[in-house]
Subunit: 178 residues, 2 copies
Amino acid sequence: MIFAAIILAEAAGIHDGKYVCQTQSYGPEARGGASKAEVVISDEEIDYPKAIKPDILVAMNQKSCDAYFYDLKPTGMLIVDSTFVKQLPTTRSVAIPFTRIAREKLGKELGANIMALGALAVFSGAVSLSSLEAAVVSRSEKGTEEFNRKALELGIELAGNTLKSDAEADNYEDPSDE
Amino acid sequence: MIFAAIILAEAAGIHDGKYVCQTQSYGPEARGGASKAEVVISDEEIDYPKAIKPDILVAMNQKSCDAYFYDLKPTGMLIVDSTFVKQLPTTRSVAIPFTRIAREKLGKELGANIMALGALAVFSGAVSLSSLEAAVVSRSEKGTEEFNRKALELGIELAGNTLKSDAEADNYEDPSDE
């Protein structure tokens, strides 16, 4: 997720010209995980570079969902990878099986983080999608640009589908869930 | 330098078990540059995740040296890549031509950031060299592990040579400087 966070930060900071701080925490500082990535995006100077009450939390596994859910703003949005997060702490959440879809549609689980980034961008509106695509391409290792761009577009599409049907938004069912 | 900062953070946080925050700033937040990477390492919980008065500043070019030198703690140490930094704002500095040496000894300028990281580790003592090597290897793209490990060792060696000769420490002369 550090890779996804850096892309988001570059898109908003370098391409969109926003004030951006992007933080990683490691060791005991990360609480409940080996590491944690945060991005603060603002139109003004940033007082405190960490996300104290995030507007959006993306949890790719149950452990990070459990550890960080209570930091989320009460009106905030939780996005989870329902491939691994089975217990949702709130109905105010969007559950998309990023890893499973990456495996099926991209042939590699590796794309799940960039897919989640695409979904986050749609739900947050914090960054322009064109800037995000530019940052994805410029940050990708040679030979992985097209894979990452596809993953981003797939994530944007999945989020769009979820938005289209408000009724399903809080309850994305995964028919093939084992 | 983001790559070098993440390696330092992982080495101290995950391998050494310290509290670590690693920050990138982008856009206007970065002042005088496109981006800026910071690492705070502590034995205790970290109050403020950015380096307000850094103990060590590594400046790889003149612009970042000029922009960030005044943030440095009065007793802090400035490490510069003298391939590009020609005007030193203080005599309390270590000038090593990382990029030139990377080009000559590693065959690629790309190793300069990891060399600077090795030097920083020696001068700061903030991280164990074995943890740093482990983090370099685990974070390197497949096929680049050996190159990055060599770059790290070269940086450590250069810093060691500088330390050995205190008289030369503040005034590393670059004989072939054009």
